[in-house]
């Protein structure tokens, strides 16, 4: 044990650099819903209308730039532009733009529930919408009609899901079936501030992202959460550890801080009394207490930003509103101050230097993964994240397969600005990738679930360099 108590930090007080997250910035309330006058009685077509209005001009512009209209040839055939899907002529090479719709067998279907007589119960979420025997039927539709898209390879690579607005080039080989050759995405929105324009001089500043802490019962307390806490506070480790820890300005908790109670799934509605099961709470006070105690220790040394996740006590629909202060127990007095900030899910954040961060707790990526068969790896997660930015809709499956608020006048999930850092929490693995979309360079950050991996990610706010801290 040569290294026992070697390189311990000096006895002088270690001081953390001041917080680097801006308090007010554009779109800081982009996903906040009014506390009163929320109308859930509206239909969702308004959202799709807004999405169409925002993306159709951009798709048409990109498609025209790439394929033209009666100006370019492919194998001796001029490429036509069809304004409507119903205008597609059999055997004619053309391109159209429209919204993608994916018809899948295991997707929730209210009409089937009514037919079975189970429409008065909360539907059980499917783990996958497709299986090996029943693949998705991908269609493109607009106000005039719908056409089935055919090209397995291309569709598999493109990860197209319901809600994307794209342009497709192809030929109608059969009535109603459109063989596609190419897909064009909407023109990407610009970035507010490029990374190259950020002043990288001065001391290093890092942001720590953690997700999936999953505090549950006391008997299931993860000792790694305490090690993380002590490392962040500079009490654990040597001089190098303290030097790294004191450069971390803010800890961002990207959802799933507590774990839901496990319920026995009772699908027998005929012989048993299943009525009371739907009234059972999913949350236990024990988990909130443990999280509150942990957060109390964190707040003493480092500012924290808390986002809700799928398993947190918040609404099911996206965007999830900030966790109510009453759920923070002894930390409630600090909610809203610089020491403890609550954000919605998803949310925009901005560093003091001006870099824009778009963070989401992971429901959007998890739902897209249900459109594919099999487990999703870290690389596939990053691919899907990249695709959501290319589609310019980072929650495309809402409201079809992901619950969301019925917006009427806007669609906040459609990008009109490209972030510098795109963070998605509660994924299978931790990793990052830099992608070039148009003229913008975006850093993708997949934050793993801490409960399963014990990993947190550190991001340099000036260079967007990513480091991992692994607690085993």
């Amino acid at each position: 044990m040569n290294h026992l108590n070697k390189n311990l930090p000096s006895t002088a007080e270690a001081v953390r650099v001041e917080s680097s997250l801006a308090e007010t910035y554009p779109k800081d309330s982009a996903f906040l819903l009014p506390s009163k006058n929320r109308d859930y009685g509206r239909q969702f077509f308004s959202m799709y209308q807004q999405r169409l209005a925002m993306l159709k001009p951009r798709v048409d512009r990109e498609a025209t730039r790439k394929w033209g209209s009666n100006t370019r040839e492919v194998n001796g055939k001029l490429i036509q532009h069809k304004q409507k899907i119903l205008d597609i002529v059999l055997g004619e090479l053309c391109w159209v733009s429209g919204t993608i719709f994916s018809d899948m067998k295991h997707k929730l279907n209210i009409l089937k529930d009514v037919e079975k007589g189970t429409d008065d119960l909360m539907p059980q979420p499917s783990k996958k919408y497709v299986d090996a025997d029943n693949e998705a039927v991908v269609m493109i539709e607009d106000e005039s009609g719908r056409a089935i898209l055919h090209n397995e390879e291309l569709l598999r690579k493109s990860h197209l899901v319901t809600g994307c607005f794209v342009g497709v080039l192809g030929i109608e080989i059969q009535a109603g079936i459109f063989e596609i050759m190419e897909i064009v995405n909407p023109a990407p929105a610009p970035q507010t501030l490029a990374l190259a324009d950020v002043d990288s001089s001065g001391p290093e500043e890092w942001l720590a992202f953690v997700s999936g802490l999953s505090f549950g019962k006391e008997t299931d307390l993860d000792p790694r959460t305490l090690l993380l806490l002590q490392w962040l506070s500079g009490e654990l480790g040597g001089e190098d550890d303290v030097a790294a820890a004191k450069k971390i300005l803010t800890l961002v908790v990207v959802g799933n801080s507590i774990v839901e109670n496990e319920h026995e799934e009772n699908l027998d509605f005929t012989t048993t009394n299943n009525f009371g099961s739907k009234n059972t709470s999913k949350f236990s006070p024990e988990s909130l207490t443990l999280f509150g105690q942990w957060l109390n220790e964190i707040v003493a040394t480092i500012p924290a930003v808390v986002m809700p996740g799928e398993s947190d006590p918040c609404e099911v629909c996206l965007p999830q509103q900030p966790v109510h202060r009453a759920l923070f127990s002894q930390n409630a007095p600090y909610v809203g101050s610089k020491n403890l900030v609550t954000k919605s899910n998803p949310t925009w954040m901005q560093t003091n230097a001006g870099l824009r961060i778009l963070a989401c707790a992971g429901q959007n990526i998890d739902d897209i993964c249900k459109y594919r068969v099999g487990e999703t790896s870290l690389e596939e997660t990053l691919d899907i994240m990249e695709q959501t930015l290319r589609w310019q809709v980072f929650v495309p499956t809402a409201p079809d397969t992901l619950y969301c608020y019925p917006y009427e006048d806007s669609d906040p999930f459609t990008l009109d600005e490209m972030p510098n850092l795109y963070v998605v929490g509660n994924q299978c693995g931790g990793g990052s990738r830099t992608v070039e979309i148009g003229s913008s360079s975006v850093k993708l950050l997949s934050v793993p679930a801490f409960k399963s991996t014990g990993e947190i990610l550190l991001v340099n706010t000036k260079t967007l360099e990513v480091k991992s801290v692994l607690i085993e």
């Binding site: 953390r16 993860d222 090690l227 085993e472």
Partner: protein, 397 residues
């Protein structure tokens, strides 16, 4: 590196170990030692008592580009896997010590740690012990609007005051800022339901008095209890049906029967007997047991219910009226000509009892009530129950 520790500190470690695992973090907070010193203390205790205690080690370092923090349960585990786990080791420290026989799990060790929470009002002391100093802790100011009953007050837009921050770094625990005002105030106004009921009844009374309602609610239950034929008699000691109506009605509106009564004022009540019966029925129902008494031959032999007569010789004779025996309070029977049974539009039968004799005996049921009660009691003591006949209502001819 060895450090000198006081006996008290070492004793504390071993005493604590008897019951629970002790970590460097707990030692630092309890003994007000810096983190470094507490780590050294743990190491020293472990070195001197390796056979009795077992230690949990934490090693930090790097593996690739990642910072790794690894927990080793035993020294053997540490020695075997250290080089495999890290590319470069920063430091190793003892995380916790426990007696070998205790065999406490890491989860319980972690729970023990949480039982010594950080006191946010004493953060400054923790900085001296090794906690990284972060931004000053400040509470967010909250404005609690007082609960107002008036609906007008709700429409007023209260502007958000600027967030004033209070610091607690001074070390005092004084709470400043707005005080939480519970909605359960001690001087509680009458509950909403009661208040609303009162308001409703008051409003109903006002409404009825002021304006003629287009529709007046009439309870069908009340109609059933009200007799179809009624006599409005002065000095009526019975409970008026109007008051019964008022008691029985469950609705919030106070029924104003003055207009209802006015409907009957012009009615010609020629059927005296039926009216008397309707008057007497409630009384007779009350005096049902008296009817039992009358069936007995003894009771039958007894004088029928009548007003007590004062003997002629009595000195009290002069104080009585000249009437022969009738109570002045008793109403004179109406001369009712017997009528046939009729059926009205609602399907109610009106029966008329045909009697020939006058009804002085029946007319003074109240005066003889006391006597009847006494006789009734004596009759009850016999223990015999006999079925009452209908004729007993009318007494002896």
């Amino acid at each position: 590196m060895t450090m000198d520790f006081s006996e008290k500190e070492v004793e504390y470690v071993f005493e604590a170990m008897e019951k629970r695992p002790i970590t460097y973090h707990t030692i630092s907070r309890d003994l007000k030692l810096s983190m470094n010193k507490s780590k050294h203390l743990l190491a020293q205790c472990y070195q001197t008592n390796k056979k009795r205690v077992c230690a949990c080690f934490i090693a930090t370092g790097t593996r690739g580009e990642s910072i790794v923090i690894h927990r080793f349960e035993t020294e053997n585990d540490l020695n075997e896997n250290l080089t495999l786990t890290f590319d470069k080791v920063h430091t190793i420290q003892i995380y916790s010590l426990q007696l070998e026989q205790n065999n406490i799990s890491p989860v319980e060790t972690a729970l023990e740690e949480l039982r010594n929470p950080t006191n946010l009002s004493k953060v400054a002391t923790y900085h001296e012990l090794g906690l990284i100093k972060g931004p000053v802790l400040s509470k967010s100011a909250r404005v609690i609007l007082p609960l107002t009953v008036k609906p007008e007050a709700k429409a007023v837009n209260v502007p958000k005051p600027p967030q004033s921050k209070t610091t607690i770094e001074s070390g005092t625990n004084k709470r400043s800022g707005p005080v939480y005002q519970s909605r359960k105030t001690p001087v509680k106004p009458p509950s909403g339901n009661v208040l609303r009921k009162e308001m409703r009844t008051n409003a109903a009374i006002k409404r009825a008095a002021e304006s003629k309602p287009a529709y007046q609610y009439k309870s069908r239950k009340l109609e059933q209890t009200e007799p179809k034929e009624r006599v409005v008699v002065a000095d009526h000691e019975e409970v008026e049906p109007e008051s019964d109506v008022g008691l029985k009605s469950a609705g919030p509106m106070v029924a104003d029967n003055s207009k209802l009564e006015s409907l009957f004022l012009d009615d010609d009540f020629t059927d005296d007997e039926s009216d008397l019966k309707t008057n007497e029925l409630p009384v007779e129902e009350e005096s049902q047991p008296i009817a039992v008494v009358n069936d007995d031959p003894e009771s039958q032999d007894a004088e029928p219910i009548s007003a007590p007569t004062v003997p002629e010789d009595s000195i009290f004779r002069s104080f009585t009226s000249n009437s022969t025996g009738r109570s002045s309070a008793t109403p004179e029977p109406f001369n009712v000509t017997p009528k046939e049974t009729t059926v009205d539009n609602d399907g109610y039968f009106t029966l008329y009892k045909q009697t020939e004799t006058a009804q002085p005996k029946k007319s003074a049921p109240k005066l003889n009530k006391l006597e009847a009660v006494k006789t009734n009691k004596s009759a009850k003591n016999d223990g015999k129950k006999k079925q009452a006949s209908l004729m007993s209502f009318f007494g002896k001819r």
